[in-house]
């Protein structure tokens, strides 16, 4: 496991993170001692078979869910002990989200959705930043539209703009391209990558699509709630290869799930190797 050099500033980290659902017979260890750091400006993809704990990890990192044990830091802030109000403020000011679906408030326009976290905080965006963001995501002509009048790709790009609007310490995405066709997905991933490179935005994204993972700087592999591997400068082929090995080790029903996840249609339809 490659250690991140200590000189690099850390945007978020988890130490010995454990999340247990249920108890007794129905106990599920969704996270089983996860240690991970996300350097500032890095674009990390988290991969793993279905049920491996990717979403749980993301939720714990983002303060949406509380771990059973272990600790999570956003920047210097230890968030595991925080109350609801402090967590809410943290999410509002220092974290951005892009979910797989239902990212936008249907009654608000695209522009209003983008400004939502700022408005909730009663803040104004830095001059020029929103404009630049809107141009970057290419929504200039759709600002006054409501979500129901936007395509899936436009909706997700609006969500990305919203996530970036507050210049958060870190942006989390849980399969943000999961509901998009390959072109729209590629647009969004390109957008995320350029925001990492150009604005130094830290991004953590869960995906089960090797093609999507290839947009990241590094891929972390999860299986049965543990980190089993890491890959720097991934390509779709190498990730796919790695995933196949991982999936051999899991039980029958989950294997079927995972097979569906890495369904050829999705894999083939993915964007071309971004490094190529």
């Amino acid at each position: 496991m490659a250690e991140v050099p200590t000189a690099v500033r850390v945007a978020a980290s988890a130490t010995d993170l454990v999340k247990v659902y249920g108890s007794g017979d129905t106990e599920v260890r969704a996270l089983d001692g996860v240690d991970i750091r996300f350097p500032v400006g890095g674009f990390t993809a988290i991969m793993g078979p279905s049920g491996s704990g990717k979403s749980t990890l993301l939720h714990c990192l983002a303060g949406l869910d509380r771990p059973t044990s272990g600790s999570v830091h956003i920047g210097d802030t230890e968030i595991t002990g925080l109350g609801d109000a402090e967590l809410t403020r943290l999410r509002r000011d220092r974290i951005g989200f892009i979910f797989q679906a239902f990212n936008l408030i249907p009654t608000l326009t695209a522009a209003e959705n983008i400004e939502l976290p700022l408005r909730l905080a009663g803040r104004r965006a830095e001059a020029g930043w929103l404009d630049r963001l809107i141009d970057t995501v290419g929504l200039r002509h759709r600002l006054d539209h409501r979500p129901s009048e936007l395509s899936g790709g436009q909706q997700q790009r609006t969500a990305a703009a919203r996530a970036l609007a507050t210049r958060p310490d870190i942006v989390f995405g849980d399969e943000p391209t999961g509901n998009l066709d390959s072109r729209a997905g590629g647009d969004l991933l390109g957008l995320l990558r350029s925001s990492a490179r150009e604005f130094g935005q830290t991004i953590v994204m869960v995906t089960h699509d090797p093609g999507a993972a290839a947009f990241a700087d590094r891929v972390v592999f999860l299986a049965d709630g543990r980190i089993v591997d890491e890959m720097a400068d991934p390509t779709a082929d190498r990730v796919l290869e790695r995933m196949k090995h991982l999936e051999l080790g899991v039980s029958a029903p989950d294997a079927a799930d995972a097979a569906a996840a890495s369904d050829p249609e999705v894999a083939d339809g993915g964007p071309a190797d971004p490094n190529g």
Binding site: D65, A85, T88, R92, F97, P106, T107, L116, L120, R162
Partner: protein, 845 residues
Amino acid sequence: MWLVTVKGLLAHKLRLAMTALAVILGVAFVAGSFILTDTIERSFQGVINDIAGGIDLQVRPEGTGADFEAGFSQERATVPATLLDEVRDVEGVALADAVVSGQAQVIDADGQPVGGMGPPTLGLNAPTEEGFAGIEVREGRLPTSRGEVALDAFTVRTQGLEVGSAITILAGGPLEEVTLVGSVGFGAADNLAGATVLLFAFDEALERFSPTGDYDQIEILVEDGAELATVADRVASVVSDGVEVVTSEQLVEENTEAVAGVLGVFSTALLAFAGVALFVGVFIIVNTFSITVAQRVREFALLRAIGAGRRQIMTSVLVEAGVLGLLGGLVGLALGVLLAIGLRALLAAFGLDLPAEGLLVLPRTIVVGLVVGLVVTVAAAIAPALRATRIAPVQALQSAAVPTPARRGWGRLVAGSLVTLIGVVLLVIGLVADGGVAALGGGAGAVFIGVALLSPLLARPVVSVLGLPIARLLGIRGELARENAMRNPRRTATTASALMVGVGLVGFVGILGASLTASLGDAVDEVYRLDLDVRSTTFQAIPAAIGDDLAALGETELALTQRLGQFELDDAQRFLFGVDTDRVTDIYAIEVTEGSLDELAAGGIALSESAAERDGVGLGDALQVRFPATGEATLDVRAIYDGRSIDVDYMIDTAFYREFYVSDEVFAIGVLLADGVSPEDGQGAVDAALAAYPGVVAMDRTAVRENLTAQVDQVVGLVYGLLGLAIVIAFVGIVNTLALSVFERVRELGLLRAVGMSRRQVRSMIRWESVLISVLGVTLGLGVGLFFGWLLVQALQDDFPLRLVIPTGQLALAVVIAVVAGVLAGVLPARRAARVDVLRAVTTD
């Protein structure tokens, strides 16, 4: 299909409970009204039976059946005293007793008359034998000599009096001390259906209550074994003209009918309020079912996809409604019993004490309660159920996320306008063309339904405007509250419409009350020239001697006694005003349009314009009338006046009055103070003179006006109270709608929380949505209420001119209350919304 229905019902207990609440409150009101009036009727019936059961026959003046009109005058037709001995001699008569009665009050420890403004206070002669006419001694004995009285056991008990002690009474003269020798009951009851009853020895009663020495009635027991009909015939053969014989059965029948008539008005009024409550409930039930159908689109579509027919879907929804209606009906019945107990306590507080027997729940009450619950709920669910049948199977596969925008309804506009118009036409027919209560109720209902139909079209613009300040002040949560209130106009509008009905009626009553108060006040200012108005606080006659006392004071210039008398004209009973016609215009501004009041003296009568028109007589005509004690007389019409201001249709001179009426009791005295006497000194002197007469007060013009205002306010307050229930139901509707909306928006709320909306902000957002809905309801309601008020005032313009007054203070208060109540209605849904788990937005189901 049944399984789906049942499971669906069980899965949504809260929704069920909230919807049922609307049914429950409505049914409770209906059941409570029935139970209360049935119970009252039974206790009256008990008294009627007990009293009539104590006699076999009654001899009375013709046509004096059970008339409950109190009137200020004791003057009524009588049975000649000579008849008693003749009746006693009739073969088969075991016992015959005369009855003489009048007004008599017991004075309580504070020096005030017992009974106050409540039921009548009667004085009667004691029967010669106990048990006669149902009168039974509970303690002590019946009075036998002057200065002794017996009192109904209820008053003895509630006033804490002791048999054998002295009590103070007021019976046609100044205060007197008498000895209480017994307490009596009437059959099983401790008082006479709420009335206070003082019994005097026969001679004393005759002296006090019968100026002519004649009797009100003669009551007869027949001998054992004698044939009732035969004895009745024999008695009938000895009585004079104008006197009739009736059996106790007839008496029971007459009295029952009279009681039923009075109670019928009472129960109709209560049921009208129950109807309003149910009407409001219907909006809520419609709304709840509409929302839940919308939320279950996928479920219904899936059912359709796997082979359920339209009819099965329809049945499923209607059965759910039916179960709900029956359950609501049952709980409502139970609550109705509690409500009846509460209302009875309320009546008791107003002085109508009823025997504390158990409540009477007739099978009719149960059936009506259940049927009302069932029918109202199922009827309200029909439209939503039809909508459910139109769901296509394919919708099971589509995402339900996109809310269907309300159809831009020309149809709605046309239908709503049409229904509103029909309502207005019905109202106009009801008001102007005397279309009666049905036209008025139907018209008001139609206007409400019409506006409710139109309200989804109004909701967006109105909320958009009303919400602007909120959005400005509160930023994003205000903006979201505004957007949320506008996103589903039909839902918002229906919820608000329920409130509109209650507020509309409150607004209407408020306007009516304010207009009435103002107009009565105007009338007092215009008409009253007197300085002090002296009368009884209990609507009783006052001793004529007071007039002399007041006239004798140095501080007064004039103390004008006013008398009322009943007489018969064209077979109708009318009241006349007996007053010194030379001076009446000194105390009241009366506009004489024809003739002159100066020439009224002997043989003359003055008529109001409206009475002259009704009776078809004019100046100089002769009027054939009949006085109760002195019989037929012919009067000359010598003046016609504008009677709208003083509300008296016939007027004769005092001197002339004395010729026709034997009792000399006064209902009011108008006092003018002497020149140079200050109002304070005048009032002080008059008050001092009145000290000997409890229950008689002197009011200056301001006090008269305030007194009138207070009376109107009391009625308005009562109506507000009864309409309050409809408003409570409407707010339950807001809670319900919001709770369902929160449920529907779980993901959205989760998302808001995820991107940083605090719990407090979530709560505030929902509360302000609630406020917007209630303010919309209040706005619509006040609009309709103002219109109703205006319409009524216009319609009354000819008969009863009112000055339209809009009680802006009260209406502003209503808006404030609506905001506060809106906040309160939002509390629960807001709490639920704030508790939504953030992860609900993230995890895809």
